[in-house]
Symmetry: C2
Subunit: 214 residues, 2 copies
């Protein structure tokens, strides 16, 4: 009947969709954010229009792909963030989780952070600007929620928590990006340094001798 048939079709479509996503994944892992629809289709053994029938446009495919990785990474981060440990340990463990992830798969990371904005396809084209880095936004909101749940910030705590969530995530991201490019120190050192920064060592440190005139 209709229902069973539809179910079969849907299951088949879902399987195909997963296959396509895996193929896209392989290409992105190889080519970074430059991965073209042609290349992805070729990797999947089919042609472009099928991709477009499944995902609408490039933005759709990228969103699906990004959601996948973002979900996976966010799950790891949530685990580190919710661990039954002291705050400093949780912060360090979360930082380390994130850095380990971007260290393990830099191509995927670059793809998630800079989802190919140069879309010159005339009419619609992926509305750049608003969703420039969904992963960052989601991590920021997630962290904000955890902060607000677990830290007592007094009045204005919600606003403060959100600012801090996005700020800390940005700190982690920028430091990670720079570290990934230059590798100036070990991951553990980086984690410690960032945690120290968050722990107010900047405010606590003294001025250098021979510092400013005042």
């Amino acid at each position: 009947m209709d229902t069973t048939q539809r179910t079969d079709q849907q299951r088949s479509a879902d399987r195909r969709r997963r296959e396509l996503l895996e193929a896209a994944d392989r290409v992105v892992l190889r080519d970074g954010p430059q991965a073209s629809m042609n290349a992805i289709a070729a990797e999947a053994g089919i042609t472009k229009p099928i991709l477009y029938r499944h995902f609408g446009d490039k933005g759709g495919l990228y969103a699906a792909l990004a959601t996948r990785h973002t979900d996976a990474l966010l799950a790891s981060l949530r685990a580190a963030l919710d661990a039954p440990a002291g705050r400093r340990e949780r912060v360090e463990s979360t930082l380390d989780t994130y850095l380990a992830a971007i260290e393990a798969r830099p191509q995927v990371y670059r793809f998630l952070m800079h989802p190919a904005e140069g879309s010159q396809g005339g009419d619609q084209g992926f509305d750049v600007g608003k969703h420039s880095a969904p992963l960052l936004r989601r991590m920021g909101e997630e962290l904000a929620q955890v902060i607000e749940e677990r830290v007592d910030l007094g009045p204005g705590s919600q606003r403060l928590a959100r600012v801090w969530g996005h700020g800390i995530v940005g700190m982690m991201h920028a430091a990670g990006d720079w570290w990934l490019g230059e590798r100036p120190c070990s991951r553990a050192e980086l984690v410690r340094s960032l945690a120290d920064l968050l722990w107010g060592r900047l405010a606590a440190a003294g001025d250098r001798v021979g510092g400013p005139g005042f």
Copy 2:
């Protein structure tokens, strides 16, 4: 003579170059990072090959444009950073300078941060990935230098200063990006919140009642 002639030509070429950059600026201000070479050429009243003769490729033009704005912004930041005031005041003033800049010209800001990575031009194409956001890197290094010069961080100070420089810049950037999109509070509030974060309020805050089991 050769020399005077060359000088004349060079001066004329420089003037032209500045004109082209200003035209490109106008287009970027209008269209954001999507600005195409055709559009820029049209705005300047000339055609593409001239642009390419002056700037090599799109990356060259974008780099020239980015350097311009980056230099301007960095000068403002350096002024705020080097002001004869207490550390907290300087930090707040620097944050505010940056946020005011991105608030005043969001299109330019977006262009600087996400310089159109989708370059699918076959052969060379702007080597994405390394120069994904030169402004961030330069700001990070600059801040690192100031930190190392003026703050006494004990052993390992150079590494620590660089990590912090990039981390703080990333925090500022991510928070600014989010704030620019959602406008959840005033600029002054954002500045205060970020400075509070850097001043260790996260470490100092107590746990929420009914918090984690441990």
